[in-house]
Symmetry: C2
Subunit: 555 residues, 2 copies
């Protein structure tokens, strides 16, 4: 029996939709050589991560073993798969492999952060492969909502694993390769030990629809419009942007791309030859001289992001362009859970301007980029693996996906972040539980999710903040009266006097009575002052604020 | 020509879903006598109102004219219609009229706040009426997702207005009166000047479904369950709670009500005779001795509220009860936009426990309480008003609803909060724009939405907070070195030294060089110190925090 083993360890993406990072290892226990599949980010929200810029998987485990990491493979250029490459580049130091379009995006990221763009190497597609330590990895084209998504064929001495990346089974994806069942059947032939598989849409019970189906609907909508037309979608959905632009072209409308991401993605798609026949684009400046019924703006901000082009147009003028009564605004996108309020805010602002808004509620103007339940079953059938390991999903998705596999007689294993599976045997076993978590990029600093920084911000947001300053003389006697300042609290409470005055008065009363023992001891004194402030605030305004006490001693 | 006029003024609810408050007035301009229809609240969120307890309409305009207010009419007992009665009772001081169930809930609210419950008077239903100044008001039963919802028939010398409240056209609402087209045709007979109408579901293109349709589906689901069953819905949806309880009963399961709101609503429904034949309920304590396949828990928290029974059960034990592998959890509810993340959190926690979750995605286990587009058209047709004034909706709903009316040849007027309409003439005119807004109940204090309190909290949450303390002696020279404390910021930045140390050092450098003019002037000094802290933080951690400077002078 070999002492070598094949392991699978999700560090991000298994238990959430976002920040994908999956480690594969092969070798003797604790001496495995590793490859990393994807290195993504997730996005913060005000509820749990106020002020944070990006959320990343905790890569500490792999960073400590970076000398055993042979390569990083990126399946596609969505931020939740590629967004972390620059942030961890210095610590991981491994070459990054990706298909041309993805590599173009990854290089831009490294370059922006001052890292060498050459670290990213363009990979050809399956059956060509890349050798990385004990692994041989091939990029097998998959259709998805971004160009050049790839499933990875990962061969090791312990057999073949297929890691799907994000995918759908699209026979006509408008841009890029159609789903190719024959290629996948070929890949399956030698036998596949495990299918590590996208779970996002496992709850959708009908087969997924092709990207090509939205084209005719969008053409109809745009051709019937009488004012200016604005459409938003994910900038990275190059096929959709192309469909929208072609609908504009057919309706005799000039296309304007608004928003940095929109221009950057189209640029990358043209540079890499992914996009060949995109209609002519004019600038916002040129658009000002074009009659509004001859214009179509393609804009960023399908998720209601406050600073994106869509939100700016909803609020007022943006780069000299302004929406008016009778214009049409199309959301060719779905709203990701959590973003509803931002999207609805924009729709209401547009409504106030008299703009007609069309969204995806009709189901006509958007299709998903992920495989639905029946599509997953179909891929399971083609690849016919010994086991299915659901990834890219919250726990509910992973569990349902595993059940789906089981219902066809294939073992399905729910492995969440940190659960290391040994795939070498006939059945997978849990080899180890690795401590994982999240890191926050906050400004320019990486902060651990459990460091308390964000917790303190949330507390200030919920409770307000009171600052107390006390000065003590050489004999530890109060010098003057204590001072309070408040932030995020009302000026006045139940006694109809200034809240600050009431708190200062209560603190002063306490200090005049306080014994030498308390006054000498910073910790005791601060704790006592904090308690008084909280009690007074509770009585005055019905709220216990956060309190910071600064004691200055004239020693 | 009469100098008297009939006016309509929404102070809340027209431009948002929530905090309904509609004023009607009749009399000579600026001498009108008023009635108020509904007095609701809205709920805060972390994005825009962290730490706030309740959001209320700004009632200042009406409070200044409280001597001209003859009565308050509450259409039904949902919080966005009745939630404000206790908070404004003292300032408005008018009697409150409602049907028995609604009155029961309103009295509980007044009582909890120490106001006399007798201020709430139980009204009989149409054709009986209540006289209030120049108005005669009748409560005409309407089906909705709470017992005893009513549309108001508001007569004045200037004619009849129908104010629908929230409603659906349900021929079989399980609890309470079915929609009665004959009654509404009778009400319409003398001619209706304006129909002021619920707009919530105007975007739903199919006719609404009856509450009675979910019963058989729920019965089937519960009868097939093998473990414990837990179901959540809005506690105030008494018909649904009854349907769920009866499904339990039929399956031989004992019913447990968990969550204060759930018990209170059923209690009110029984007290007022709304609910007569509710299955026997057992306590959580009794339930511990019942086999889990003989139990069904009906719990609060359908919106994922962190402290509700559903969330507590998802996290662990609640009142001695615990969910296990093979149990079933049913969301017999829809998720209100903005609450998705909270609901999904619970579903994932339940998934981790191996609990099967069934939600409304199948459309089988929930129906809405509001009239859909075709239902609105039907009511417009029956009441046949001179004009339709959409209310209870965001701008997009009001606009679409007005268009719907126009499409049938009836004028539709979008009147948002603060827009006073004169309904006396043949066509409505805008009489005045009244300043409106929102108030926040924050702890025990009412805070204006524009007072800056919440804005400061959001800033602290996004940027963190730095406190700077400087002591100056009698000659305005710094006494010792400046102190910094931070909250919600990382300990260390780019220079790998303590952030506080770096800031203190920079502040100290500045103070040593600062001229007498700066040191003497509190404002100048604080502004300079604030600028240094923000610059240093930007360099160290890539973030500009909020800064509070406390200068103490030894004078």
């Amino acid at each position: 029996m070999s002492s070598e083993r094949l392991i699978y360890l999700p560090l991000g993406g298994a238990g959430e939709i976002g920040m994908n990072a999956y480690v594969y290892g092969y070798g003797a226990a604790d001496k495995e050589r590793f490859i990393l599949v994807d290195l993504g980010v997730a996005f913060p929200d005000m509820d749990t991560t106020p002020g944070v810029d990006l959320i990343m998987p905790d890569m500490a485990w792999l960073m400590e073993r970076a000398d055993r990491l042979d390569a990083i493979f990126i399946t596609h250029a969505h931020e939740d798969h590629v967004g972390g490459v620059a942030h961890f580049y210095a610590q991981l130091g491994a070459p990054v492999y990706a298909r041309a379009f993805t590599a173009n995006i990854a290089r831009r990221k490294l370059d922006e952060h001052g890292h060498p763009a050459e670290a990213v190497r363009t990979a050809s597609t399956w059956p060509e492969t890349v050798k990385a330590g004990p692994f041989t990895v091939g990029f097998a084209p998959m259709s998805h909502s971004i160009p050049e998504s790839a499933g990875l064929v990962i061969d090791s001495p312990a057999g073949r694993v297929v890691h799907t990346g994000d995918f759908k089974l699209d026979p006509n994806p408008v841009v890029g390769e159609a789903f190719d069942p024959d290629m996948w059947a070929e890949i399956a032939k030698p036998g596949v030990r495990a299918l590590v598989c996208d779970s996002t849409n496992v709850f959708s019970a009908h087969p997924g629809r092709s990207e090509s189906e939205v084209g005719p609907e969008i053409v109809r909508l745009v051709s019937e419009a009488t004012g200016m037309v604005v459409a938003t979608t994910f900038a990275s959905n190059v096929a959709r942007v192309k469909t929208l632009a072609e609908a504009a072209d057919r309706a005799g409308r000039s296309v304007v791309l608004l928003g940095r991401a929109m221009r950057r993605m189209i640029e990358a798609a043209i540079e890499t030859g992914v996009l060949t026949d995109f209609p002519k684009v004019i600038s916002a400046e040129e658009a000002r001289d074009v009659p509004r019924d001859h214009l179509m703006l393609l804009v960023t901000g399908s998720q209601g992001e406050r600073r994106a082009a869509s939100a700016q147009l909803a609020r007022g003028k943006y780069r000299g362009l302004e929406l008016k009564e009778g214009d049409l605004f199309l959301f060719s996108s779905k709203t990701i859970p959590g973003n509803e309020k931002g999207v609805i805010r924009i729709i209401n602002q547009l409504s106030e301007k008299g703009v007609d808004v069309v969204d995806d509620s009709s189901g006509l103007y958007h299709v998903s980029g992920h495989a639905n339940g029946p599509d997953l079953e179909r891929l399971h059938g083609i690849v016919d693996p010994q086991m299915v390991i659901p990834m890219h999903g919250e726990h509910r998705h992973l569990r349902a996906h595993a059940k789906l596999a089981e219902s066809h007689g294939r073992p399905g294993i729910v492995a969440v972040n940190g659960m290391m599976l040994d795939l070498s045997g006939n059945a997978p076993t849990v080899a180890e539980y690795v401590e994982t978590g999240r890191s926050y990029l906050d400004g320019s600093v990486m902060v651990g999710a459990l460091d308390g920084v964000v917790r303190d911000r949330i507390r200030m947001a919920l409770n307000g903040h009171v600052l107390v300053t006390v000065i003590l003389d050489e004999e530890d006697e109060p010098l003057g009266e204590p001072w309070c300042e408040t932030m995020g609290l009302p000026d006045m409470g139940s006694s109809k006097a200034s809240l600050v005055d009431v708190m200062e008065e209560d603190l002063n009363q306490f200090l005049m009575r306080a014994g030498a023992k308390t006054l000498k001891d910073d910790d005791k004194l601060e704790e006592a002052l904090r308690r008084i402030v909280r009690q007074t605030a509770q009585a005055e305004i019905g709220k216990k604020p956060e309190v910071t006490v600064v004691t200055s001693r004239m020693r």
